[in-house]
């Protein structure tokens, strides 16, 4: 029977199937960070259970860590305890950890791919909803809760109900200046924050094939903002070229066999999806959010919508609430929205290509007076690469801050936060109330729009400056 990419990967990992029970699925790679793991390790200790496969498990410190003065102890004692707890747990259970200061430390979803640990056809999990990022390689990758983290540590499996499949086909080519981030924000605005619920999304079509691995990771990363637990893209030559030579990629002896297998994973021509959505790439423009969920977005050329134009009473109420929280009036032109903070980074847009895109826009310009711009590489390796290319100097000479690797201002768990009432243009993935700090207001944007906004002082495209 014809099968989709997601179905092939699922079926290759079924340990046990029984009527009336969820499938027991084998997990190839388990990524760990300090926030969602302490209670899981505690559970193992209480039950006297070991970690079944420490050799399929890897940990990093990212959410709590400061991105400045990292050689000093973490100032917040509660954050420090959480990071120290991870260190102790990894030592006790024999798990490889990349701590703050290590050459491979970074955001969990940046380091897996960069080490070559994320490969096509694998099952990848992490106690973190943006695990969907790894689907860019054709892996089935999804976020789990802490009970499931404990389950995977103890058994290397998860009991799961089979998800439905959904295709999002992006036909045609993106116009110049329109990025993967714009594409995925437009997809979410179209299908809604619940649109992918219960489904694994496969992104297909010419515009997707044309994306780099970094761009594909940006798209798959935000699948969860459309309600889908996982997003996938069939592996192709772009994928293989990215992987070859990475530390944990198959070596020369195994490479051809691996590539043959990876090619076989593509969705069969006559396979059917439970739901299909088609989007015209040629119509897309730079996209930004105006509200407090990632589906509340609009073209940069547009204006803030009027809640009274919504038919659905719940959507109307949500839009009214969002505008009140964001302190925006209906009809305001998007380009008239001024910001005081710009954040470039996160697992959505903290990779080398994102920093190159931002640097290209900022080069030779200055950050607008009154605007604080933070550039935070997704990993230490990304930071070193950017420095080798001189990107750090482009940012600092424009007046932006160049930081160390971490989640930083993507969420208010470390020293990089918005203060109440502050407004940011952010390349991260969530514009929820208070996400970047209590009372903070977030507009989600691409790296190029973030850089242009830093220079202009208001939401702007590169051609505006």
């Amino acid at each position: 029977m014809a099968r989709t990419l997601a179905e092939k990967v699922w079926e290759a990992h079924v340990v046990r199937q029984a009527a009336g029970e969820p499938d027991l699925l084998y997990i190839d790679l388990h990524l760990i960070h300090e926030v969602t793991s302490p209670q899981a390790f505690d559970g193992l200790r209480l039950a006297g259970r070991p970690v079944r496969r420490p050799d399929l498990t890897i940990a990093t410190e990212d959410h709590n860590v400061p991105t400045a003065d990292i050689d000093r102890p973490i100032a917040d004692p509660v954050s420090r305890v959480q990071v120290e707890t991870l260190r102790k747990n990894c030592a006790d259970f024999g798990i490889r950890l990349h701590p703050l200061g290590d050459a491979q430390q970074g955001i969990v979803h940046v380091i897996g791919p960069q080490l070559g640990l994320t490969q096509p056809g694998m099952t990848v999990v992490c106690g973190d909803s943006h695990t969907s990022t790894h689907g860019a390689f054709g892996a089935l990758a999804f976020g789990i809760g802490t009970s499931e983290v404990e389950h995977v540590l103890a058994t290397q499996t998860l009991p799961l109900q089979r998800p439905k499949t959904m295709s999002v086909t992006v036909e045609g080519d993106l116009a110049a200046g329109v990025s993967a981030k714009d594409l995925v924000l437009a997809v979410i605005a179209q299908i809604g924050t619940g649109g992918g619920q219960g489904h694994v999304i496969e992104y297909r079509g010419a515009a997707i094939r044309g994306l780099s691995m970094e761009g594909r990771m940006t798209v798959c990363n935000m699948s969860i903002e459309a309600g889908a637990r996982a997003g996938m893209i069939a592996p192709d030559d772009t994928t293989f070229a990215y992987l070859q030579g990475k530390p944990h990629a198959p070596g020369d002896a195994d490479w051809d066999a691996a590539v043959d297998y990876w090619r076989s994973l593509a969705t069969d021509d006559d396979a059917a999806f439970d739901r299909e959505v088609v989007i015209d790439a040629t119509q897309l423009t730079p996209f930004v959010t105006w509200g407090t969920n990632p589906g509340q977005g609009v073209s940069l050329d547009g204006s803030v919508p009027d809640p009274s134009e919504y038919d659905d009473p719940l959507d109307r109420a949500a839009a009214e609430r969002a505008l009140a929280y964001m302190d925006l009036a209906p009809g305001t032109a998007v380009r008239d929205i001024t910001v005081d903070t710009v954040f470039i980074g996160s697992c959505t847009n903290g990779r080398i290509e994102d920093l190159r895109a931002a640097a290209q826009v900022m080069r030779g310009h200055a950050v607008a007076p009154g605007v604080r711009a933070l550039v935070v590489p997704g990993s230490v390796a990304v930071a070193r690469q950017a420095e080798a290319e001189g990107l750090d100097a482009v940012f600092t000479s424009a007046g932006a801050e160049w930081r160390q690797a971490g989640c930083s201002m993507c969420l208010g768990m470390n020293p990089d936060k918005l203060s109440p009432g502050q407004r940011s243009a952010s390349t991260s993935n969530r514009n929820f109330e208070g996400r970047q700090g209590p009372g903070g207001r977030t507009h989600l944007v691409s790296p190029a729009v973030a850089a242009a906004t830093a220079v202009a002082g208001h939401l702007a495209a590169p051609e505006d400056i």
């Binding site: 084998y26 959410h63 809760g145 009991p159 637990r229 198959p250 209590p438």
Partner: protein
């Protein structure tokens, strides 16, 4: 975990859609390494408003939460489930849930009750107009009862059985350790390990 069969209690109406887990419990509360005491973080930002429904004494002691569509979207934090449970909730009724939240809820014994939009609206109306009304979530019959109103809901047989028995998933999976070992024995050798290269 505590078995769940039939729970009757007051219901707190939260008339909002897209209640993401960052709102259920903000990031600041996620720094703890313990497993209990998260009730202080529940809806921490919204609770600062004295008019927020959680602060209404008429709903004190509610054990059921009724919310709008897409409850529990966003972050995978299981702390959202813990905060609801530590506060005293045993079930959440909504027209649609975030996938990860729904999974987390059933792991810990908080029952996600997915009802149609219209039924959700009726139940919300009952809780809003009479705070002392008792609502029953009956997992045996898979129905919600509020006075004369009876609303069926879906929950797969396996999850329902696990919730009713209060069973720990890990113990169940470890019964299949032999099958896990046989699967491992035939995994391709080129698959990566995290052993340092």
């Amino acid at each position: 975990m505590q078995p769940f069969t039939v729970v009757t209690g007051r219901a707190l109406p939260l008339r909002r859609s897209n209640v993401d887990t960052d709102q259920i419990i903000p990031a600041e509360y996620l720094k703890r390494v313990t497993r209990s005491g998260f009730e202080d973080g529940l809806f921490a930002a919204w609770r600062k408003d004295p008019d927020f429904v959680l602060n209404d004494p008429a709903y004190a002691g509610a054990s059921i939460l009724i919310a709008g569509p897409d409850f529990g979207t966003g972050s995978s934090r299981e702390h959202a489930v813990w905060a609801l449970q530590d506060y005293g909730f045993r079930a959440v009724i909504a027209p649609r849930f975030g996938d990860i939240f729904r999974g987390n809820a059933t792991k810990g014994g908080l029952v996600p009750v997915e009802v149609g939009a219209e039924a959700g609206e009726q139940l919300m109306g009952i809780a809003e107009s009479s705070p002392s009304a008792e609502i029953t979530v009956d997992l045996i019959e898979r129905v919600v009862r509020a006075g004369a109103l009876v609303v069926p809901f879906d929950l797969d047989d396996y999850t329902r059985w696990r919730l009713m028995e209060g069973l720990d998933d890990i113990g169940l999976s470890l019964r299949h350790a032999d099958e896990i070992a046989s699967f491992e024995a035939v995994r391709p050798a080129w698959l990566p390990t995290t052993s340092r290269t």
